[in-house]
């Protein structure tokens, strides 16, 4: 969209009248939207029709095509130059701390060194992450929204919100044995939470920050940044004994991801269950001949168990299921299970089972052995699931199976104070031109987007 607007601007520079507060129009005009934008698709389709019908227009269309391609090249070059300039300006701005000013003169960035020390006073400020720290704490990968925010703003910082602090304090109270000194009643703690809310309200980012905090505290965190990957891709085989579907490729990836951060912790945690691990069909290798289970040696650690699953494809799914039981029995350190795109586990998977010669039956996510092991929240372990609107699951029922009734927490979109902090941050990061920034303009953007974070990020660059 931005490229099209710049392209249009390069062709015809247009002068628009300034916004008149006394005018009758209720919607303020963001002047970069010109007639060409609204006619973009129609003009493109008309162009396509003209090409088909009129042979004489072929010459014209080729000329237009060359003009378009040259304009695109100019736009791309402009983009690259703008990007490089912006990087240079940002590097110069780093030397000037007077620019780190938020709304009402408050500091834009918090000086608190860690997520665990953040307090209510730090809300509506930005917390900076170091690249090594973030990649180290979340080696499984960042949520898409977070990665996009870092890419657009060219800084690894997230807004500190009250919702994150409440979530963090909830889990802190579960683990912390000392009672609160406030003197009042302890607020209700919830061990299982489902983060829900409108599109782009910050569910995945909140979950990622919670995981980061928990790992800083030394917890054992089972983090799944993309729950959809458990129900899509790879191979799937029905296990005749359990009746569930094994996904050995997915199981191996799950174990490898779990090992990425938790390697040293798992080497110290012993196994509690020494029953043999049932074997299934391997990925592309069939069944193991004559063997249907694998023994777990006495004295093994969780690391050894996971290595069995990674090395032997037949045992991968069995190890994942066993791991879930083992995580419930770990008492040495707090354990947190954090699942993003959790709503994908309440709908159908990509897989289907042939029923007749011509028809197939879709397989629900709960029929997969790995999902079946981790989906339920009816237990005494700490678990957080975040819904995602990026995966086209659709609307789910309010009372989900295997989920406590009071587990849902609705995260709200940005309020006015948070939007002010966000807009000041984007100004600092040169997403907004300083001469175009005003309270009136950022409020227009906020009301247009209705607090949607991704939309605010796309609209602020159009401020004039």
């Amino acid at each position: 969209m931005l490229r099209h607007i710049l392209r249009a601007a390069l062709r015809k520079p247009q002068i628009h009248p300034p916004w008149n507060p006394k005018s009758n129009s209720t919607v303020p005009s963001i002047s970069a939207f010109d007639h060409n934008h609204f006619c973009y698709f129609s003009s493109k389709s008309n162009l396509a029709k003209a090409k088909k019908t009129d042979p004489k227009s072929k010459k014209k269309s080729t000329n237009e095509a060359t003009a378009d391609s040259s304009a695109t090249d100019v736009v791309d070059a402009a983009f690259f130059d703008d990007g490089a300039k912006r990087v240079r300006h940002l590097m110069e701005d780093e030397k000037d701390p007077s620019l780190d000013v938020g709304p009402n003169g408050r500091p834009l960035f918090t000086s608190t060194p860690s997520l665990s020390q953040l307090t209510r006073k730090d809300t509506c400020t930005y917390f900076k992450f170091s690249e090594e720290g973030l990649n180290g704490a979340l080696p499984e990968g960042l949520p898409k929204g977070m990665a996009k925010e870092f890419e657009d703003s060219m800084r690894r910082a997230v807004l500190v919100r009250q919702s994150f602090l409440d979530l963090r304090d909830n889990f802190r109270r579960i683990v912390d044995t000392h009672p609160l000194s406030s003197g009042g009643k302890d607020p209700k703690v919830r061990k299982q939470i489902v983060l829900d809310g409108p599109v782009s309200c910050g569910k995945s980012i909140t979950l990622a920050m919670l995981v980061h905090w928990a790992r800083d505290e030394g917890w054992l965190v089972f983090y799944v940044p993309r729950g959809r990957e458990w129900t899509h891709g790879g191979f799937f085989y029905k296990h005749p004994e359990t009746g569930l579907w094994d996904t050995p490729v997915q199981a191996e990836n799950i174990l490898k991801d779990f090992l990425k951060y938790n390697d040293p912790i798992l080497k110290k945690l012993p196994c509690h269950i020494f029953d043999p691990v049932p074997l299934g069909e391997g990925a592309g290798v069939g069944w193991m001949k004559g063997v249907d289970s694998m023994a777990v040696p006495e004295g093994s650690t969780l690391y050894d168990l996971i290595q069995i699953g990674i090395k032997l494809t037949h045992a991968a799914v069995g190890v994942v299921v066993r791991l879930r039981k083992e995580l419930s029995l770990v008492k040495d350190i707090p354990v947190l299970i954090a699942i993003d795109q959790y709503n994908n586990w309440f709908t159908f998977s990509e897989y289907e089972e042939p029923v007749t010669i011509r028809s197939c039956r879709p397989i629900h996510a709960r029929e997969l052995a790995t999902v079946n092991a981790f989906r339920s929240m009816m237990h005494n372990d700490m678990m957080v699931g975040a819904f995602s609107h990026s995966t086209a699951v659709g609307k789910l029922r309010k009372d989900l199976p295997d989920v406590p009734v009071d587990a849902r927490v609705n995260l709200a979109r940005y309020d006015l104070n948070e939007a002010a902090a966000v807009c000041h941050y984007y100004l600092r990061q040169r997403l907004i031109r300083r001469e175009a920034f005003s309270e009136e303009n950022w409020k227009k953007v906020y009301y247009l987007s209705n607090g949607n974070g991704a939309e605010i990020r796309s609209l602020v660059s159009l401020m004039q």
Binding site: H232, G233, F235, V285, Y351, E353, C360
Partner: protein, 116 residues
């Protein structure tokens, strides 16, 4: 590059699309074969090992008529019509349309054999 039932399968193609390159296997049968072997939608031919390709070949060979067997069957049906000298057989021999189409004009596709 691997061959299954006489069809050359491109390694970079998804299994569900590459399978349709075989004579006698269309999109529906390709999906059936895939799901019976537990192969999901985004798996490509290059990600399959020899065991899985043999499984595909075995399954197709058992349950479906493909490649030269299909062509042989079609040819046998045409020769049967010719041998019993029925109207359709005579039309096959003459290289003319046999499903009631006009021959005053058009019918160029059927007449390719005569023109040759």
């Amino acid at each position: 590059m691997s061959y299954i039932s006489g069809a050359r399968l491109v390694a970079d193609e998804q299994v569900r699309i590459a399978s349709t390159k075989m004579d006698g296997i269309g999109p529906k049968k390709a999906i059936q074969v895939r799901y019976r072997l537990g192969i999901s939608g985004n798996i490509k031919i290059k990600e399959l090992n020899k065991y899985q390709i043999d499984q595909i070949e075995q399954m197709i060979g058992q349950d479906h008529v493909v490649h030269w067997e299909l062509k042989r069957g079609e040819r046998a049906d045409i020769e049967r019509l010719i041998s019993i000298s029925c109207y359709r057989g005579i039309r096959h021999q003459d290289g003319l349309p046999l499903r009631g189409q006009r021959t005053h004009t058009n019918a160029r596709t059927c007449r390719k054999l005569i023109r040759k």
